[in-house]
Assembly symmetry: D2
């Protein structure tokens, strides 16, 4: 028997995490559970919450959705105290062990502390190697643990000094939220690649990956944490530090294209609005003669609405998504055509049959899904299938927390536009241009190639930081010599 | 600490089941798992599959989604044999015990047999009482078990004769699929209230609640099982019996409005198309002056597309749905406004702010959700909120397998239109008319009141069958005197 | 890899159950848990308790020891009410499913009732077949369910009348305890083969398989239930019925030899005392010249003490028992000699080396353990090994609740004494005579062959009842056509 | 509802661990599971095994008995490789978390290594504090982790050099077994307080806490590891190192009195023999006029046999032990007298009634059990109860791995002999003298007070090592600030 994966077929991008923290609120744990629920789209494999009640830390870390575990009275009841931080995580290859569930915790000479992380350190393996040489013992394969050891080894007195000392040793794209017994810290990497916002619920400060996590708890959105900014929140309020040499802000453009929830406000823009405008730009760039605009749900819907409005071609739900997905199913011996894609998507014949269809997707990674959906739409009776993609071709992998495949598996890194069209079996294919993306963002002149307004390395190869581990080819080194079945 | 339920707030209708069966195929269990996955929208609480390999029956019945359990090689591997039937079930009040998971199984003098059921028997309690008096021991609180006992007690030789003898004793709306060691049976109640379709995968017959379960396995759709038709499938092929006195077909109109998947074909109509046309009719009946059409996702989307197209008012995703829902969360002590609805829906401010909004929903049950969504949309900045409902007012409970609340809790059974509008806090409110529904179905003259084309008892109180248990007020009788924690 | 079973190697006899009940006591469930704990030696696979609180029944049935589950506050707390019955069960071949855990429960026209059973019905399969023919649906493979169906089908008004009507249809050796919402019943089969005692804790009646279950809760021992006596206990007190034609009492001699706890009083005799006297009689019959008396622990110890005292040969713990037994271990590829027996027993070299050893065991079933222990003792340095068995040769299987192998696997049914000695590798072998057993019981003249004082069918083939299922060769019929993995 | 603990009532001593290792054998994991099963009496809370197959380490660590988990093919199959070490652990207050299950594992600059430990370090907290100051992060509350960090921080090249460097920093009583990818190490503390033996199975070396673990796998006993000896076993054979300043051997006398299995050979003596001789010495010191000798089972049995033989008073099983113990039960509201002790022990009235009874126990800790057993024996009808204890009064706590209560709870540290007798309710009470213990060991002149042959600190307060943590009163410091529910 063979297993068919819903996700192997589905070549989406995945972000690894969402972070949340609330300081000094009677309902710290319950609010954190709600905030993480609102961030669930950023990571669905596992979730964790740490609290402190003035006496000790409390923690729960579980595989599964926030609502599978952190919706229970006994769980929230065990998480005592008025300050809490929490984390949701995506599945990452080989690292799905319970020990890797964040927040991670350690005790140092200056007391206990917990840290959680969205992003990726580009020199984690190099630093890990150095720390092991000095006698540090690692218990996880997570890059976050590197930061913990740096803090533990620091000889500074205050936690925040140790935290900053650690930050100065790491490279990459990250948003961290941490907690000691009496303070909460937040930081965004020097380029602000990963997002982090500040809110307030009455007198309590809140940190979160996205504004949608503020909305669910009725917290007020104050501002984004700046690139390179460290905030320390304690009983005396919030202090801001800027320990890094100044760098231009370059937030990741993928937060708009794919990761953030449509109703979140990122960099002052409504994500839904940006996506619709990308559809508009895409239609301006390349609208074919056609009968219907069909989004690949759910992420292609806003761009499809924009495309339809701009082009005047009617919008139809020509593809239906099954939201009740398991990760895999057993393939019958007599193989079913396109089974993988059908587990999640089905063609809505009525809307497609005899039509010239424009399919709108947000991005193309390996291209396998696109190819199967085109076939499915053709078999459902479409007379023409035109593929329009609301992001430029992905030609380079990400190293800042987005789970992209090797360059060798990126369709656009290995094929010309015509080859891609042919691979997908579409009648025509167009990707929005990089400038089109920037225009949708509000920059009429497109990308500022001298000082790019975003990091768009997956489309341009223009990485904003050093890639130490990559350069030293540490990437494939086995992180642990131990195989243990966690239960 | 208080628990906030996502679903108590969410006053949707729920159907209790989906059924599936495949006869004589090497991959019987794997195909059944796929079919049930496609029917997952009909029931998400539990799933079960029975097979027979010529020697014995095999069975797996579990709480949870199909993809949580029936995606495992060992599970499918244990379900040996070339014939299988399966079932998905919704949560029903008080009955969430493992013993109630279908298919149910029994052994009689003519061998073992398994039966699964979508629908509800309207004389189940009356019949249960009679059987207990005769010494039958019941192990579940499911009405399906009544049928098992009738089959077991029949003195007929052949299983299909016993099955028909049992059918002649029951009333209600039902689609049953059953199995012995060498045959599969299917039946639809005399009015065809609940759906059942016949398909073929090469030489193997398939029975399923909806065509979407045929599509996922590439089976060919043959036809619907007729109202009152019993089909017996064995090695010699399919035989059709019509044991009941003839009754006019009156399929349940709610399959179009809410239950069936948009891409399923029901009664020759594409469900997505019907829903869009309901939006069109609704707009014809009552389109206000407004800036945007906003569906309550996901079920309101097709009607909103139709409404938008008919009215010319632009369609916007003004409400975002969080698909990662747990069933409940812990309410913070300092209560959060509209927390229940926010766990599942959030307002997309950009699309709503400063706009005159038309909200499109498929139906209103208790009205609590509508009320909260109207408030949420207002708080997000809408200047006007007009509510349009793509089904008529629900004034009567269902007794054929749809989980409706008591009449006392049905908003439309207890308030005038104006009172409902006031309760919801909307600026205007309109429900599609009953005739509008029939027009969307293709009957230009609306409902044929002499011989109604569908059963629409929830809107009209016109029940197609006797309601024996109701008449004898057996409804609230406790079904079991035993409380056992199932693990 | 191969699995070595501790128990396959260990060819002990096993009884299937212990029963307990208490009527009208505030702590009914907690007392029942304690009573079952005291009866744990009678069955270690599963345990169950039913209670009734005037409104409904409560039940918990679990695999594992009483102390694994029924020691929890929440469990005892769920088992509300002032009356309770409970059961412990041994593992029986093929029947280890959760559904078979007793008490079993059913609801009839006269209300709900629960029944638990120690023993075996010798016409269960015959009756099961008849009931299925009449349309009864069986949910377990337990013979106890036959009784439930008979009660459910009875047309008598009162539960106790139905219960008695059922008893009159069954044959075998049994002690049953049952419960309705307002009464408790107990019965011992017409010959009193299986034990049942009556106690009182203040004003509350208690029924139990052995007196040790009364002792643990400080209940007073009143008397044994007579053979063929039915007791009905309700708020008006205890009533005794004798519905059967009179039969002479023939309690099972194995309760003394092996099953009952040494500190229990059975038939007015202390079990420990009887076992010691069996050792004395054995020594009188056949005491070899030897240096040490070594019991096979734990069951051989009392007889060894008696043998030592009578013979004057010193008693030594020459074999040590490991009480922490799993059921199986993985055999290393390089097989370890006598691994099976070593998982449970080890030779205490000091006490054995250079000695002429008399090994005392309570019984021999297949002889495999005896053989391995003799080898182990020899390898530990014994110069001579004399085997003395405190029960006569087992030549016939039991059909009254003791799990004995087929006759073909009973050592004594297939070999002469000399062949058995040779098979075991002992220097000499002696089994106590049947008359020796009766002398140890206090009958100086031994067995009364006209009216035997006990049933000793395993030694004599003299079965006190009909063996209907055996005669009709129903034994091997498959009870269920369904294979379901219970979790 | 109140919970009654079997163990709170039962004031036994508990040792924390047993260790086992085998090097270069095809069945390394299966043999280790068997060895640990034989050592199960040394720890029943949890068990763990590590293996290495030349490529990586494999590990399984579980709560429960060895036979609950390590008897499964899949588990043993996952533990690949030809070298294995394993550990069984007793429950210790507050430390029952999964993370503490040994062996513990770490990766250092010189590779991965695993260590398991029987005993206790008397300067663990002092060292832990120093390491945290230097930036080490601790993940367990086990003292074993201190050793791991010392090894990880060592700047030596070879693992065995690092291991020895770590040993030189620790104090206490310990037997350690460790493993890298290509060697196995064993060490016994400078005084040899905790036991460790060396065996051979064909060409494979075996290390184990006791000889009974060699016996079960048919390994040959080679010798004990010397006090202060480090053995390194690799493909070139076994090398012995003696890195410590020479100290006289002072093995713990409690291994004879209580911990080791009766059939183990410790220090050249059979444990069963020593215990019997203690009974003999006890009878010489103080045999009352009496009718029966009754051991408190199981540990009092050998001494009772010796006492009976010396005194000529007959031996009887006057107290029966229930081996099926859960840890707790629910106390009925109407309290049952002596329930705690009854859960484990019951009086065998026949053997006791009307008799003058000598009770033999191996030791007295808090005295609560003794007191309840004396009462139980009196209520069973004994006319006199004489208590004889086969070890001297315990007046001092242990700090080398035996779980003793605070001095304030040790009966003999707080009461005179007469007060103890009175507390127990016995007619007379005698503890064996310290010299009596040494005589039973074969030292006719008793204890050599200049160079004591054993460590007997619990009786004499003569601790063989420094007690750094005690002296600095670090004992009660909370080890972790984190409370996490492990599942």
């Amino acid at each position: 028997m063979k297993t068919v994966s819903v996700y192997a077929e589905d070549d989406r991008l995945r972000e690894e995490c969402g972070v949340f923290g609330v300081f000094q609120h009677d309902d710290a744990a319950a609010l954190t559970a709600l905030g993480l629920h609102a961030l669930q789209h950023r990571g669905q494999e596992a979730a964790g919450i740490f609290t402190h009640d003035g006496e000790q830390f409390y923690s729960e870390r579980r595989m599964g959705l926030v609502g599978d575990h952190f919706n229970r009275k006994d769980v929230i009841g065990r998480l005592k105290g008025r300050q809490a931080i929490g984390h949701v995580r995506y599945s990452t290859t080989g690292g799905s062990s319970k020990q890797n569930i964040q927040p991670l915790y350690a005790e140092s000479d200056c007391g206990g502390f917990a840290v959680c992380h969205n992003g990726n350190l580009t020199n984690a393996l190099t630093k890990r190697r150095e720390l092991i040489k000095k006698g540090s013992i690692f218990y996880t394969t997570s890059d976050t643990e590197v930061i913990l050891h740096m803090i533990a080894r620091s000889q500074k007195k205050q936690f925040y000094e140790r935290f900053i000392e650690a930050l100065l040793q790491i490279d990459g794209g990250y948003a961290l939220v941490g907690m000691t017994k009496n303070e909460m810290v937040g930081v965004r990497d020097p380029h602000g690649i990963r997002p982090l916002v500040l809110g307030k619920l009455n007198d309590s400060y809140v940190l979160a990956s996205e504004t949608c996590a503020l909305d669910i708890i009725n917290a007020e959105f104050i501002r984004e944490i700046d690139n390179g900014e460290v905030v320390i929140i304690n009983k005396d309020g919030l202090k801001s530090y800027r320990p890094f040499a100044h760098q231009p802000a370059r937030p990741c453009v993928f937060e708009y294209i794919y990761f953030s929830r449509p109703d979140s406000i990122v960099g002052g823009r409504c994500v839904y609005d940006v996506r619709k405008k990308m559809g508009v730009e895409l239609a301006i760039e390349s609208a074919p003669e056609a009968d219907v605009i069909v989004p690949i749900p759910d992420s292609g819907v806003p761009a499809a609405i924009g495309f339809s409005r701009q082009s005047g071609i009617p919008f139809e739900l020509g593809i239906i998504r099954n939201h009740y997905v398991g990760r895999t199913f057993i393939e019958p011996e007599q193989k079913i055509r396109k089974l993988g894609v059908k587990l999640k998507h089905s063609a809505n014949c009525y809307a497609i049959k005899g039509q010239r269809v424009v399919l709108i997707d947000d991005s193309v990674v390996r291209g396998t899904t696109s190819s199967k959906i085109v076939q499915m739409v053709r078999e459902a009776g479409a007379t023409e299938v035109h593929m329009r993609i609301a992001s430029p071709p992905i030609t380079h992998p990400d190293f800042y927390g987005i789970d992209t495949p090797d360059k060798s598996q990126l369709l656009a890194a290995n094929k010309t536009l015509e080859e891609m069209r042919d691979y997908m079996g579409a009648d025509s294919l167009h990707f929005i241009t990089v400038d089109g993306v920037y225009r949708a963002m509000g920059y009429k002149d497109g990308r500022d190639n001298t000082n790019p307004q975003f990091t768009d390395h997956c489309f341009t190869g223009d990485y904003p930081t050093e890639l130490k581990d990559q350069d030293e080819k540490l990437k494939d080194k086995q992180l642990s010599l131990l195989s243990e079945l966690k239960v």
